[in-house]
């Protein structure tokens, strides 16, 4: 590819793992960032032609239009089961699900828990924006106390609606989980950290260490009724205190390889 005579060098381009089409996501939404991190990682690892993604129900229901790779569309919450079924008959393929908080932590709580418990060799990218986006801003299992949504118009009252589910904290308790981390997409520094985590998660799958999940704190400017910048600030100011960033489970083999 490299031609020494050329003066111009391509230093930035759209990942091959993304299709060249406009997305349906709202302006300012971080889904595009999350897609890009996954696509860049798959490109870097040379796995596009050996990858199958499982799309959820929710805002990212059409994720398969944006990823340039084989994809299947799951029923609401069932992506981990579908990924399990696929991966078990294709153990050498790279399989990931892309799920929102309603999909993963509410209707699909059983499927994600058991996929992790089995140590299923899949990677889950969990988009937590504390709201149901696609249906217009209802309370999610990760809606934070006091947060106003169309189905908690006075703010989430924990006496009535209970407390948000902290999925990294829950799944990290399971022996099948090999890599469970939470990152945020609200600024450039955090996006860079998120990218590293996505890479690590796919490496965990490639090495067959167990179940891997990266939770990405994300925004929803439309349903949060905020500007894009306000919504990014809101992640830092309001979501991170409830959903602290960090590594909740890291398989010893990963730690060892980092030391080595």
């Amino acid at each position: 590819m490299t031609d020494k005579k050329m003066v111009e060098a391509l230093i930035f381009s759209k990942p091959v793992s993304l299709t060249d089409v406009p997305t349906h996501y709202c302006p300012g939404c971080t889904h595009g960032v999350a897609h890009r991190l996954i696509a860049e990682t798959i490109d870097e690892m040379g796995m596009r032609e050996n990858t199958v993604g499982i799309a959820p129900v929710g805002c990212s229901v059409f994720a398969y239009n944006y990823f340039n790779m084989d994809f299947a569309e799951a029923a609401h919450g069932r992506a981990p089961a579908m990924a399990t079924g696929f991966k078990r008959v294709n153990p050498d393929m790279n399989v990931f699900t892309y799920q929102g908080d309603g999909d993963l932590a509410s209707i699909g709580a059983a499927e994600i828990l058991h996929a992790a418990g089995r140590g299923e060799m899949i990677t889950v990218i969990f988009i937590n924006n504390a709201i149901y986006g696609m249906t217009g801003g209802q309370m999610a299992p990760t809606t934070i106390p006091g947060q106003k949504t169309t189905s908690s118009p006075l703010g989430r009252d924990v006496e009535t609606h209970g407390f948000p589910l902290k999925m990294c904290e829950i799944l990290s308790q399971l022996d099948g989980s090999a890599y469970i981390v939470r990152r945020s997409l609200h600024d450039a520094a955090n996006i860079r950290k998120a990218k590293k985590a996505v890479r690590q998660a796919f490496e965990v799958q490639r090495q067959g260490l167990g179940f891997s999940m990266v939770e990405l704190l994300s925004n929803c400017p439309t349903n949060w009724r905020m500007t894009a910048q306000e919504s990014l600030n809101w992640i830092g100011d309001h979501m991170i205190p409830v959903f602290p960033l960090g590594d909740f489970k890291v398989h010893p083999a990963i730690v060892e390889s980092k030391k080595g």
């Binding site: 990858t51 199958v52 398969y64 994809f71 299947a72 029923a75 069932r78 579908m82 393929m93 059983a110």
Partner: protein, 355 residues
Amino acid sequence: MAKELLKGNVAFAEAAVRAGCEAYYGYPITPQTEALEHMAKRMPELGRVFLQAESEVAAINMVYGAACAGVRVMSSSSSPGVSLMMEGLSYIAGSEVPVVLVDIMRGGPGLGNIAPSQGDYNQIVKGGGHGDYRIITLAPATIQELIDLTYEAFDIAEKYRAIVVVLADGSIGQMMEPAELPPMQEVRKREDRAAWSLTGAKGRDPRVITSIYIDPAEEEVFNLQLVEKQKKIEADEVRFRSLLLEDAEIAVVAYGTSGRIAQSSVKHARDEGIKVGLLRPISLYPFPYDEIGKVADQVKRILVVEMSGGQMLDDVRLAVNGKVPVDFYGRMGGMVPLPDEIFEQIQELNKKVNA
């Protein structure tokens, strides 16, 4: 191969193994659990996939995932478990991936009981899940038929890229009979997987398997494709058995276990000089409407027997289209009709016919 004494649940599981089924995902439920247990032992020893899911909801979605890979895959369950699979079956129908499911029906509604029933005819034959789709439904009356239909179900599912349900009841699942198992087929080679299957977008455009068509006009085009496919299925896949119908004045229509019991009753009635025959539908979808219609042209009365409150009855009435009276005898709740009960029904009808 020689006949051997086989339990229904083990027989259909082994038939699936021999059909080249590469993966089985299931959840324990009486009265079909022996199938899951057989697969738990058998699939790993052949280097194939067995996985006990956390629920029937997960099991059918695992089946869906493996089906997207283009491998032969199945599950089995019983009534309450199949209810939980309805969501997944609708998605599978909407994605047109081939899947085989065996439903060993038990008493209901609700938790019901674990005794044989045919109460889930409507659920399976009429769709069950949301949206416009049909499930090819095959109803065996013997262990041999259970084996043969399960074995063939994989071919039919792939031929039409559709769901095939082998619909039997707890007595067929639990009883033992001498039967012959089919020859072993190896699992499909990876390079032989179908052109629509997800194998990784290497040297080709990406493939997407989905059931969503957000534009109503596109969804309708897809719906019409399914309807066209149904027409082919209805033209080519009707199966039934008839017995002693040539000169019959009364026809009994019954499927599965009811059909098998009714056969004894019909033979008994023939011994008593009653002109009665039996039509036993094997494919419940597609339903033998035309064949039952022809029977209705000939006989004076039709008796439908089911282990339900009368579900297939509606389809028989559609087929008969008012030509002759259609009577019904059903047992429910896990109760199985005795041959003499059906014989008495035939006797009563015979009196009316000859009154």
